[in-house]
Amino acid sequence: MSADVIGSDRPLTATQRALFEVVVDMIVPASADGTKPSAAEVGVLDFIAERQPGDLPAIVRDIDRLDAAARERHGAGFAGIDAASRRALVEDMRADDAAFLRNLAMHTVTCYYQDDRVLTAIGLEARPPFPKGYEVVAGDTGLLEPVRRRGSIVRDA
């Protein structure tokens, strides 16, 4: 992700950006088989900055809270603690406040599942639905036989 994505009025410091990437990668890490990138690799921050900039300040506040909590609990910033401690801290904070980082998680998957590499990995062509469309099998209307056999169920009125 480029450091300049937020533009001249970029609201995130380098530390916050690094932390942001750590957090989105906790939401969706790269797949173990290497076919799917991690969330930071698909550019979640650019995506939110471009599409929903109004949501960024609250997300950054949550990330700052996380960092502060890490310092309090472990004496080091969130990026500086080990993976197990990170997970435990996030879980605790989400358990305390269900809204904590929830919006970020929603934006993360929204961005992630529109990325070419991800779509290809889940078996889709990386293209818009229109104009090519999709084929859907008609389905076997012979399955309706028992419904037909039962006859009319129209209520007398």
């Binding site: 998957v109 929204t110 961005c111 529109q114 859907v136 399955l143 419904v147 037909r148 129209v154």
Partner: protein, 535 residues
């Protein structure tokens, strides 16, 4: 020109206004329609772009309060567990509709006689039947003839593909011995009247880029305009004006430049939907109608019916390609449509089987519900649900209750300063029981079809107020209804209402085929009575 008098002035260019405009055009009267929105451009619909899924969550939100397009007006629905959904443009809410198109049943028009609840309609299924058929031909409806749950009719086009998911559910319903059938759908499955066939894009609820979905802008409006109807867009009507003889004289509206104008008319037809219509009438006060126009019965805005909606998502062990094909239309079951008093409620519901979630929606649903966790297990959990899900909607008949109503909000107003509607709605005990029953049956059907997990959502779903009915009901008794059996106001003899507001009851199916049949029926009655329309 604005001071010219026109023969017929229609307010609202949605499903019903468009049908009436087309039908009346053959009279060669001068007909003008005022619509607060503009024309939609299918080339701008989300499915043209890679970001189609996320645009559904922003510009194409179903609630006007979240969407906030210039043509939208706010609706205070805080006092309702069900949020009001609509769209304001040429084509009205059909721009977003799923086009699931089941007809009302004959019994729906006679609920008082059959079940001792609500009221019978002053018209019946058989009076509407020719207009159902005419509408099906005009807009292009797909389906399979011979559904034993409803009187025989032949949709002009073959049904939308049910796909492997439809087959799976069909087998499940068969196991239980329940009714099911491919849904009638207002989508063209073959090229039809110059429109290309459905490409199974999926996101019909964000506008159809192909024009295969039979929304009113691509069906009735081109025909009506060719026949001479004038459609003025971006014109928002503030009130219907009346004279001292209780006759409508026209409407006051804001044109596209925000200039206030008056358009005189011999006949005014209101087609603003079950919330927009009572709002306009309640905003049209005068010395003779201090409580709102055509409201001597006191019933304008009352008896709002919304079809409480339950939802169950089933996850299947094998991939079903379930998110391709028209989102809201596949198959339906009407096993529980008619009253069976042993169930603990009167009337019934429709089980509407809808497609699975595309990738973003699948991931968001999983994250929101916690079924897709954060971290390493994300991918496996996503793969267990994506492309393997089927949804069933439980669409419940809502009975009319006067306390469920549209009034005017004392503070909220639209961008022209016109008071906004306020919706007050309480879910009835009958609806609560029906929802509970329906969600249990939908879950049972999922299991019978082979679902490994079943996720019922808490009912009623909030963002499901897409059917707006009953707020200017029809009837023969002027004390107990707003319009007569052919849509004419009891109080104002040159004022007609043609949208879902006139519904006496709500049926247990999506209403638009019936709304358009009623609109065509009213237009036909007007044509037959032209010589003495106001007697």
């Amino acid at each position: 020109m604005a001071d010219d008098i026109v023969d017929v002035l229609i307010v609202g260019a949605g499903a019903s206004g468009a049908a009436v405009a087309w039908s009346l055009a053959e009279t060669r009267m001068r007909i003008v329609c005022l619509e607060q929105g503009g024309w939609m451009n299918p080339a701008e619909y989300p499915s043209n772009g890679r970001d189609w899924e996320m645009r559904q969550y922003s510009e194409y939100q179903l609630s006007p309060n979240l969407r906030k397009r210039a043509a939208d007006y706010p609706i205070n629905d805080d006092d309702s567990p069900i949020a009001i959904l609509n769209f304001n443009a040429v084509g009205g809410s059909t721009i977003l509709y799923s086009a699931h198109f089941p007809r009302f049943h004959p019994s729906d028009f006679r609920v008082a006689s059959l079940d001792g609840v609500a009221d019978d309609w002053p018209i019946d299924y058989w009076m509407l039947e020719p207009f159902f058929a005419e509408n099906d031909r005009n807009i292009g409806v797909s389906g399979l003839a011979g559904d034993p749950a409803i009187p025989f009719h032949e949709p002009p086009l073959p049904p939308v593909p049910m796909g492997r998911m439809g087959e799976a559910m069909g087998r499940g319903f068969n196991k239980l011995g329940w009714h099911w059938w491919p849904s009638d759908t207002a989508i063209v499955t073959r090229d039809y009247n110059g429109r290309g066939r459905c490409l199974n894009l999926g996101p019909c609820n964000a506008g159809c880029a192909q024009g295969a979905k039979s929304s009113a802008d691509v069906t009735y409006w081109p025909m009506a305009e060719r026949a001479g109807v004038e459609l003025r867009t971006n014109c928002r009507v503030r009130e219907v004006t009346v004279d001292g003889r209780d006759m409508a004289t026209g409407v006051t509206y804001f044109d596209a430049d925000g200039v206030e104008r008056h358009q005189r008319a011999e006949v005014v037809i209101v087609a603003c939907n079950g919330v927009g219509t009572p709002r306009l009438l309640l905003n049209s006060t005068s010395a003779r109608f201090p409580d709102g126009l055509a409201n001597r019965s006191g019933l304008v805005g009352k008896n709002l019916m919304l079809h409480p909606f339950g939802h169950v998502r089933g996850i299947f062990p094998e991939p079903l390609a379930s998110h391709f094909g028209p989102q809201g239309s596949c198959i339906l079951s009407q096993e529980f449509y008619e009253t069976d008093s042993s169930r603990g409620f009167v009337r019934g519901y429709d089980l509407q089987v809808t497609r699975g979630a595309p990738p973003v929606a699948a991931a968001r649903a999983g994250i929101a519900s916690g079924t897709i966790p954060w971290g390493e297990d994300h991918h496996a959990a996503f793969e267990r649900t994506y492309d393997r899900d089927i949804n069933i909607g439980v669409l419940c008949e809502d009975l009319p209750e006067e306390h469920n109503r549209v009034t005017l909000d004392p503070e909220l107003a639209d961008s022209h300063g016109i008071p906004a509607p306020k919706v007050s709605y309480k879910l009835s005990e009958n609806s609560r029981r029906m929802l509970e029953h329906g969600v249990a049956r939908a879950s049972e059907a999922m299991i019978a079809a082979g679902a490994t997990t079943v996720h019922p959502s808490p009912s009623p779903i909030r963002y499901c107020g897409w059917h707006l009915l009953g707020t200017a009901r029809m009837g023969d008794d002027p004390g107990r209804s707003v319009v007569n059996s052919w849509g004419r106001s009891h109080d104002v003899r040159n004022l007609f209402i043609v949208d879902g507001s006139v519904f006496v009851t709500s049926g247990g199916v999506n209403p638009t085929t019936t709304i358009q049949a009623v609109a065509l029926y009213i237009a036909d009655a007007m044509k037959k009575n032209l010589a003495n329309l106001f007697d």
